[in-house]
Amino acid sequence: MNLALLSSEIAIVVLAVLLICFDLFMPHRETRRSLGIVAACGVLAVLVHSFTQYGTVGTVYGDYFVVDHLALFFKQVFLTATLLTILFSFGYVEKFTQNKGEFYALLLFALLGMMIMASAHDLLTVFIGLEIMAVVFYVLVGFDLENIKSSEAGIKYLILGSASSAVLLYGISWIYGFTGSLLFKEVAANMAATPAILMGLGLIVAGFCFKLSIVPFHMWAPDVYEGAPTPITALLAMGSKAAAFAVLLRVFLVAFAGLKLYWAPVLSVLAALSMIVGIVVAIWQSGIKRMLAYSSVAQAGYILSGLLAANAAGVKGMLFYIVLYMVATVGAFAVVVAVEEHSGSDAIAAFSGLAQKSPLLALVMTISLISMAGIPPLAGFAGKLYLFIAIAAQGYLWLVVIGFVMSMISVYYYILVVKAMYTHPVQDDRVLTVNGPLKLVAMVSLLATLFIGIYPEPLAELANAAARALW
């Protein structure tokens, strides 16, 4: 047993607990930005540390918790997402009247949940990690006490989330019942296409699709994304989704690898539905968070489609896409946070004339959105290409066509935002000040999106190494 493999997780727990303790002893009027900085530094340190873990592949406590390249890759994604979220939410958090310290601590708990999911190698660990993340997110979504939307979103998320957890669990119980084990490898070894397994499979798909906000299990997402505090929305979109994918990969490609014949058609339909519904509904949104929510539904569909390839190329595409989606999302939400702070609204109309108030933010938003749409030469295009090459090679041409077509239709509503920013008149002449960390996040997102789009190889290599860990 090698406890060093757990060092990241342990560090995060310690950091979270420390934050809570610091918060206790801090003067009441303190803005708690210092806590945020501590959290950010801590996460950054863990992120840096995680790179040293490459090469040390191993398991802890039996086979239940595995640290391999795939897990590391996902952990780094989560760490980066959380780090960037913390950085751009300083201003946002300072508006809370209380519980600022707990906010950062809870973020770290959520991060821990995700990290456990990334390493989970059996269904119980999956469940625990998932629940840590989910429960913390229920809290965080309802965290904005001033905003009645926040609590509404929280309770909706909680009820639907718990119900879907129950469904997932029920599914897990069937799998356990037939195979007599929870470990992915043993499940795979004892697999047979019996009704019980298929039932379990169906219920597990339903449970995961809820977390991934795949149509038709997506209906919570718009409401929750809209109501949640914006940084939490961002983390939900980036982290919670990516974590669910981390689990999905192992469950479907390790445990259920033998049942591909059964799950692939179902997932392909779900992926297609997500792309279509996410995009056509997003057309109608007037609030940017809600629009991004629908967009995230569609993006989840894209990422999910990579699973259909059921090979390293497909997984690589998914991983690649997850990263670029994170990068684009973080940029978009950073801008949303800045605009929301400035104008108090997340309506698309609030973005009018942003290009004149802050060309950088407008540019970041544009690049992020266009990248999500998948237009060359931005990262989103490279991502779609990786994904679609992989699945087209397996014969899912129809899905590729739907994917490309819908991604182009999605430009319609992305570009409405761009239009508002670039061509609409400025609504007021207040100066928009952007704090340093947020600007940093925006710049990072912008450069990363461009870089990945034009030179995707390094990230693809990384993703490839991670993907190979599954086989």
């Binding site: 119980l124 469940f127 625990i128 629940e131 429960v135 229920y138 809290v139 309802g142 006490l145 009645i148 939307k149 609590s151 509404e152 979103a153 929280g154 309770i155 909706k156 909680l158 009820i159 718990s162 119900a163 957890s165 129950a166 469904v167 669990l169 029920y170 897990i172 119980s173 069937w174 356990y176 019942g177 037939f178 007599g180 084990s181 929870l182 718009p222 409401d223 809209e226 109501g227 109608w284 809600r290």
Partner: protein
């Protein structure tokens, strides 16, 4: 002879009843109760499998314990959120929770 199938059948019925509760109840607490029923059905499933499929390793029972833990955590957070909503709006009816839609 009572066997695995019977326990599973009971669990299925309870799960379905929980499902029905979640989908029909008007208040948040009612829905949460439905969820609890579903989780308990799962537990029954797990324990039954544990007994009949892997009697010498109690994986199912361990899982059930964790499920109970998680259920407790969910209920705690759920009720806390329920208070928030109730304070915010002075209602417990889910149908009124539609500030955000479309």
């Amino acid at each position: 002879m009572i066997g695995l199938a019977h326990f599973l059948a009971v669990a299925a019925i309870v799960f379905a009843l929980g499902l029905y509760g979640v989908l029909t109840k008007r208040t948040i607490v009612g829905m949460l109760m439905g969820i609890e029923l579903m989780l308990n059905a799962v537990n029954l499933n797990l324990v039954a499998f544990s007994r009949f499929i892997t009697p010498e390793i109690l994986t199912g029972q361990v899982f059930a314990i964790f499920t109970i833990t998680v259920a407790a955590a969910e209920v705690a957070v759920g009720l806390a959120l329920f208070f928030r909503v109730y304070r915010d709006r002075n209602t417990v009816h889910v149908a009124r929770l539609n500030t955000m839609r479309w």
